[in-house]
Symmetry: C5
Subunit: 319 residues, 5 copies
């Protein structure tokens, strides 16, 4: 809801809350004026004061997670997404960045703390901010947002490692659902990061004029960095698929083992039981029954059969 | 079957049914003349009055769901598809849009209510319609059609969530068929939306001259929006694949459980039954039979074996 | 083997068999001369009379199903494939089309009836043939060949629907082989249609000069049409994959059911048999045996166990 | 090891072995001089005499199966692979082709018989060789190498058909390994043929100046031919995947059948055995035992149960 | 930590450790000055002395495995990765290469021995180093790094062959995990090598001016070589997938065999046991029991049944 202005030149700096966006225009004699607006409630005011095109606001309102870069005659509009974790799931937050002359206007849903280090640097005169123009500030904002994806990816990665060791131990029913959730999060990251490539390609071609040569080199490096991050995402994806495969293989190994035990027990005892069945028959004339050691002979026979079976199974590698 | 004309300029507006397409030409002194035709029965009349190329009509007649954009010297032809739900399935409806000078001609199979809000806005003088030309109307029509895809996607999405919880509860036989139906619907959406990208690319390159700079920005935003919608479709597709996987895994888990129970029961009782078989044999000389507590000893022995088995299975995690 | 000439101008028409290709040249004062040759035996004669490049004939001879478009200085060569059904399988038939000045030469393996409607139209003066040049005839021939793919696709589609209902009823052994055959046919269609896109792209870039603006619009529409047909093929492919999945799932459902019945029967009767085994033992001292209602008590006990098992299975959803 | 020169003009021809590459230069007044070198041992001599760039030799030495086309100011270098069968497996053999002015230099590991028909044609003055320049010879060499891939593909294809009928009969253990070997061979073919496309694209763009218009048409046709061959390879690949699927489905069908028989036998006899168990119990008071026809009644009862079961299984379609 | 300078011209050579990077500038009158720095601790010094852009250092610091090529007005920056094996796993090591005028600056984490052969060649005046400029040295460094990937790939390949034979023998539990590890390593190689293609494309387009025509030919060949290596990686990937498939098929074959044995044993003995059950019943009137050879008749009957079963199973191919 609050609007703040950060205006700075090489040797002076100024930061204050403002009531109306019009007040920001008074600082225009600084080399950079950064207006930050919390929430997206002041779109019409923004349009009025800076004369941005309607399509920009349409894009903001109906954005669903795709990064956008739109270049107009004298201003540049970027729509990005910050990603943060909320109650165990990933959420994204729209962030709009406008660059018009020496003005940089940023809008975000929550009071963003991603930009705080930048504010600090400007305030303290650290880094290159004071020496450079508004285009460098835009680069730094982009850099901050994108750099913030890395810890999310690392969290996903460590959760996958956890899951892997869980799978290798045994399958509690939750596992598959967890893998699917992680996979969805990876796809979520991917869908957030992938369109950045196109936006940067656009920036490099159509948006050249908004950036000085010096800053363009930074953007270039950031572009490469995004590709690198995307590769990490892709490798996460492969890993998640590997997890699923491992999970299924673990299940099928288990089934295998269960069936093996069933088979071993059954094939040993079923024939033996058959033998006891024979000598349990009530035929009047069964010569073996009268033998002195018939009983022990039959027990011994059965033992031998069982041992033979066990030997066979061991040779097969089933025991 | 009916033909209606909506003609408007900055300060006047006019809407009426017409008998013949020729009558529409009388309104040409308005800044925009929108002719809407229900059904595709008047193709030859259209050709006569506006002189459209034969190929256009060929495209209309043999279209099978692919969006088309054709640019001629002095007119523009677009063939789009509206999607609506009919008796639980998705259907599509051809919509043709022509832009020639200040004339916009639209044709559709059913009297479309997608365009009603636009008609309302024009009638009431809301929005930018009256201030802008025919190119802006074309944009607005495209926007209305495409925006209408979103609720379809949301319906699919909520049905998938339903299905997911069904799968996790148990597999009624219908489930797989339902997943397949949803997947087919997602592919249907994809096939409808994907070619829009190419059509827009064409519009931006070959169709530039038909749109003013101002309107082109809107088209640009709409282009981005389509990409975004397509990404939603893609993520739906991934989700549907995830559902299928989850379904199969549920089945194989179930088989696993069934086999486990079979194994546990069999491996406990088969050996015990073998023991009863032994003492059921009729050998004349079986010393144990005569023992005072032979019976109870054998029962105790069997109990111990059963307990041992149970302990083993519990340690294996099968119980 | 036979060669026929169709020569026509706006107001006259002529069709006759010719002995030698040279005879065709005599009709060159008509606006269009269409020479149709059955079979590919007259390649050398063709080369001699029209001076076509050797590479063209090489392409004809070693073609294996890939559409080709070759543009030379003053003539255009197209190699297409007609698809027809023969004894339940799809076959393809080479069709060569040459366009040189006002001459159109077509060659095909079998006396083609795909072109008959065109012949009829020309003869009767219907359509636009007589008003347009040789380039329009080439377009119409292409259109006829490509339009002919549609019924093949529809036949495949209806066979897939048949198969789907068969799979859902039960698995006769033939099913899988049939799905594979359909899938192969879909790939066959795809391989025939896909290269058309490239051929058309070539036609549009390198072959522009052979077509008037008017005809190019038709070609454009045909190009779009091919993309549409290809999408139908792709969706068929997805459907075929869905069939295979459905087939496997049906099998695994069946296995599941069989194992379930085995488990239910076994787990009910194996413990009961064990009990009968106990009372079948021949120990001298087994007090229960002497009880008055021991027999009935044991029967009742077994009945209760069986009922308990059934209740358990019902609760598990296995019955 | 041997080096041979084939020099020819329209009306003369000359072929002989040479000792040193320098000797080849003496024939330079023929319109084409083709130097063939067996083995790659004379690289440094080649460099000296013709002044080829070092990178060429690097490419030859470390090539691993990828076709290469390198264009230099006044010469062209092509590295191709011949494929032949050796003891049941596919092998490839490097073949280097240089084109410099009217010199064509070829190098190959084994004395290649792929080029023999070309040598024959030149010797006998057949074909177009004598009329055309060195560029045509290069085309013909390429054509010969590529055409030679076809019989390899046909052999693979016929082996797949064999395998298919084997799979449908039953699974000897070798089958899977054979499918995998075929798949690997298909990938081997693919990796050999695919880069040809890029090489040809390069030839067409950067290598234009080395070929006359006439020859370029031949190259064009060969380019198309390669695409066609590649499509055959792709379709082989699809077929191989289909084989694997078919193989797995055959196995799972078999498992299904085995389990079905187990289930049928078990569910029929286990209950019956239970009944015999009942009447085998030794309770003193079991009224049925004393009945006159108790035995026959029990046998009849068991028969009825068995018949009922059989009827049930038949209805289920398991018998 | 140490910094070394190698400076050489056609006829002189000089190599020594230096304390500060500034000292390196004194050698600038040699035709090539190669400064090698161990570790990445001297970034700020590097920036000061050579005036490299900040973005370069950002790229170095946050690189995660993606090759980078950045071209500035008067210098070229390359970030590559060496791959080496460490305790059974693959590791990568950053290597930065700068080319500015006649200076080549290399940085690497560990004292690299990949470059030792190059140092040797320069020292001994072997190869082309002394005759060529700094651009050739850069090529040679790239070549050395990339050539070093080959033995890694060969090691992976031989480990896969080992695994294959292990799978075909039987499934110790480790196997699947090993396949997954190999697959991950292949992906690791792929992710390292793939971006090289883009870097080279950039070098060829934007970086042209840094390389003489002569050296560009070498780079070209190296580019082709990378594609070739990448193809090897892809074929490894296919092989790894084949291994997984083979592994699963081996498991399912095994399950099949186990179930088959269970079925054979059960279906033979269950009916026989039923027969013994019949004659074990205690009915008072069972005529067979009194027969003289009843016992032997029953034994013979059972034997015949067993033989019949065995014959049936053999015919089915289960034995």
């Amino acid at each position: 809801m609050s609007k703040t202005v950060f205006a700075y030149s090489k040797d002076r700096f100024m930061g204050q809350k403002i009531e109306s966006l019009k007040d920001a225009l008074e600082f225009r004699d600084h080399s950079v004026v950064w207006v930050n607006i919390d929430g997206f409630d002041h779109l019409s005011e923004l349009k009025e004061v800076f004369g941005f095109h309607d399509a920009v606001f349409k894009a903001i309102v109906r954005s669903k997670g795709r990064v956008k870069a739109m270049m107009f005659e004298d201003y540049l509009f970027l729509l990005l997404y910050q990603i943060y974790e909320l109650s165990g799931g990933l959420k994204r937050e729209k962030t709009a960045i406008f660059l018009k002359d020496n003005f940089v206007i940023t809008m975000q849903e929550r009071a963003g703390d991603v930009f705080n280090p930048i504010r600090e640097s400007i305030r303290k005169g650290e880094g290159l901010f004071r020496e450079k123009g508004a285009d460098y500030l835009v680069f730094a904002l982009l850099d901050a947002i994108i750099e913030n994806y890395i810890p999310m990816l690392e969290r996903i990665s460590s959760r996958m490692e956890e899951l892997e060791s869980k799978i290798l131990k045994g399958d509690d029913e939750e596992t598959l659902r967890r893998i699917h959730r992680i996979r969805r999060e990876i796809l979520f990251m991917r869908r957030t990061i992938f369109p950045l490539l196109e936006a940067f390609r656009k920036l490099e071609i159509d948006g050249r004029r908004f950036f000085e040569q010096e800053t363009r080199e930074y953007l270039d490096e950031l572009h490469e960095h995004i590709m690198e991050v995307l590769e990490v995402v892709e490798s996460h994806r492969e890993m998640a698929n590997g997890l699923i495969e491992m999970y299924y293989s673990t299940i099928s190994m288990k089934t295998n083992e269960i069936i093996r035990i069933l088979t071993v027990v059954s094939t040993i005892f079923i024939p033996l039981t058959f033998i006891t069945g024979i000598y349990g028959m009530n035929f009047h004339y069964m010569p073996e029954l009268g033998w002195r050691y018939g009983y022990f002979a039959s027990l011994t026979g059965m033992l031998l059969i069982a041992l033979g079976m066990l030997y066979y199974f061991r040779k097969k590698g089933w025991l």
